[in-house]
Every structure is written in C-alpha cells, then in structure tokens.
Symmetry: C2
Subunit: 229 residues, 2 copies
Amino acid sequence: MAYTYEYPRPSVTVDLAIFTIREGKLHVLLIRRGGQPFKGKWALPGGFVLEGEDLETAALRELQEETGVRDLYLEQLYTFGEPQRDPRGRVITVAYFALISSDRQELSAQTDAAGVEWHAMDALPPLAFDHEKILEYALDRLRNKLEYTTVGFQLLPKKFTLSELQGIYEAILGRGLDKRNFRRKIALLDILEETDEKKMEGVHRPARLYRFKARKFEKLKDKGILFPF
Amino acid sequence: MAYTYEYPRPSVTVDLAIFTIREGKLHVLLIRRGGQPFKGKWALPGGFVLEGEDLETAALRELQEETGVRDLYLEQLYTFGEPQRDPRGRVITVAYFALISSDRQELSAQTDAAGVEWHAMDALPPLAFDHEKILEYALDRLRNKLEYTTVGFQLLPKKFTLSELQGIYEAILGRGLDKRNFRRKIALLDILEETDEKKMEGVHRPARLYRFKARKFEKLKDKGILFPF
DNA sequence: CTGCTTTAGTGTCTATAATACACTATTTAG
DNA sequence: CTAAATAGTGTATTATAGACACTAAAGCAG
C-alpha cells in the first residue's frame, strides 16, 4: 500500500512560531538545540511528522510536548522547502503559528529545564536553520491578521481590562494606539460584555474587567474574520 | 549526506489551481487522469517535487510542462497532508495558485490533446483526490486577494479596456459592480495610463485601451499589496 | 483629610472612503 | 437617419478612521 512512488521522499517537519505577550512585549518561544547541526543555537520548536499523522495533529503534538499546552489558536503559515535549508538533507517544513495567553504561558515554564525560553521579539538571538525567515514571515502574518481578525484576543485571559487588550495590540503592532479610538472600535464589534468585577491593582483607579460574549466569539473563531484596526 | 533521519518520508507533490477568464467566466485548468487511481477523473495539474528542487521551482516546472506558460503570478496556497488523501500512500501536497491572462491562455491550448482543459468554475466535474477542497480554498484566497491586491490585473493582456478589467472582477467575485464607482477607484490607484488606441469591436462606441504604468506596477507586484474593492 | 500620582474612562470634529444612482456620447448596421 | 449597443461621466449620502483633552477613582505620603 504505502510508498509505491519512485520519487524523492524528503523528510517533513512542522515548526511552530508560538507568540505571547510578557511585560507588554511580544515574545516567541525558542528551544536551545542540544545536538548538531546548529548545536547550542536557538530554534523554533518543532519536529517530524509521524507515520499516518496529519500535519496539524503533528503541530499540536509538538506544541504539547514542548509546552504542555493544548487547545490553541493554531494556523498554518507557509511551507519552506529550499533544498539546502537543512544541512543534513532534504527536509521540508510546514510552519504554523500559535498564540498563548498570558495566563497559560505559565504552564510552559515547567519545561524550561529543557532549554525552552521566551525571547522578546525585539532582542532575538541568532537562530538555527532558516528560522529567522520563518519568524519574519510569522510576524508579518500575525500583524496582518490583527487587522482583520480577532487573533489578538487569543492572548488574553478570560477576563481582562480594555487597557490590557490595547496593550496586546500595541505590542504586536509595535506602535501606540489612541485610547478613545481603540475603545470605540472594540465597542462597535459588539463581542465584549462587562463583568461586575474590577481589577484592583496599583495606586490608581481600578479598571473594569470584560469577557467575550461566548456565542459570538465561538462563531467568529471558526471564520477567523473580524477585527479591523 | 542526504536522508539520515529515521522518520517517515512521505512523497511530496505540488498541485496548481490555475485560473483564467473565458467568455466572462472564471475557469480553472484541469487534467484528465490517464492512470489509477481516479482514472478518467479530472484533477488539478501537478506532480512530484524532484531531488534538490525548490517547491516553487517544482510548481513552475509543472506549470510549464502542462501549459507551456512561464513567468506567472504564482503563490503558495496551503499544504494538505491528511494521511489518507492519496490512496496509494502518504503524499503531502503543497498547493499553489496561478493566474493566466486571456492572451496567454492560448499557448496552453497546444497541450490540449493530452486531456488538458479549461473548466468553468460554476460547472465543475467531480475531481480526483481532495482537489475539490483545494480548489475551494484557492477560490476563497483568490477572492480575498482581489480585495486588497492587484491580482486581477494578472488576468489581462498588456492593453485592455476598463470594461474588460471590470469584467474580470465581476467574474471572480461572482457579482456585478457599479461602473462609475469601479472606475473611480481604479483611477485613484493611479497605476493605469491611457493609450491613444481604442478597441474597435462591435456595433457600439469604441473603448479606450489602457496599460499599466510599468514602474508603479513592478513595485506593487512584489509587495502584493494594493487594490481594495 | 488633603493633595499628588497614576491609570481609567469618555465625545466631537474632520477627512477619507464606500455606496447609490441616471444620463449623454460614439460607433456600426440597416 | 435611426436603432442598438457599449463607453464614459458626477454628485450626494453614509460609514469609517484619525486627531485630540479633560474628568474620575483609587492608593499613598504628608
């Protein structure tokens, strides 16, 4: 049944650009390589697609192995297949990107022992393979998606303040946004609802906490559409 | 050097969704399969990625083999890798889409003997493999791209009338557009220039022919950006 | 308890872009 | 010269984006 072709059979991997926000800045998850090639260099988490395994399944499996996180916003990015991109031979990689909210990123800290670390996007070390190119592509896509989808919302805990939401947008876009215009557009989307709670933190007026309107949000999550800025 | 991994090595193919406009309607190029599986069914043109061959190079090569056309707008679409998508074994396919202008689509007629035919998108036969899914994805992307890029312009000969350009948009979007609004937006883009020529054809007022402003267009082609509708 | 600091929260005006909508102009065929 | 067919043109309305500044509420210091 399997493999009856007389054509080259490259290895196929998945690589993940996993983003989060820490301390107001966009970070990406990197792993320090333990073996050759590129030993000691940082790389995107990823690995080989297994026998009979779907590509997205492989990406989710790798994600869980590396970070312990399930059930994520995960999107196929691009497939990189230059013949020389891996010095060991022909390896084609399907890149995905994912977002982890600030309250779930703690889980991944458990695996930190294995050389897994969050790196600020504005202070990246040199990366293995063509992972710099992949990351550049991923950041492009992320910023783009931000403009017409709700991706940014993936990066927040269940309840959040509007300032926190704006902070996410500013961190990804790399520029400041006007508070009033931002709030007006969010309100227009009609996907948030107030809670009675307030975030009491620090020496200043407490901010109201919001959450998504569950029904609306679930529908939109599938379509991916919405959220212009 | 090559293939030192102990991991599954699927075959990797490229498949192409090649669109054109014929008689005012969106068409896609299909090939009738000569062998098993899906013998006699229609399929997207495509084929295996060769040893040491870049993915896009493979797509361009297949395109040329099937249609004789070079130098096309070609864009990676998505990679499909469900384990069971090919009954012969694990085959991962990287899908591309391309657009051929009405004056170049004639070239491809030369290979028609081999069961290569244009099919109207609104009257497709059943397709082999998961090619219906791939096509659906491609059409989605094409319509989307139309709204914020200049892709539509790829489907026209060097000189064309504004009505022809509008026809392209209507064929892809599947709905009519207002003539005055369409022309205003085109003018705003500032990427067309008038020629002195007119298209004398039929029993009616002749239309002025336009062409792209070469410099502007070359810049935009790379970026891919521009052209909201 | 007063006031200083810090972040939350709110509304208007202007500019730009999108849409709806109808008539005149030019050509050929008969 | 008239009929048929497509080319070509402008205005008014509505929706969206961006610029912009002050008041509100909490904690802490004195």
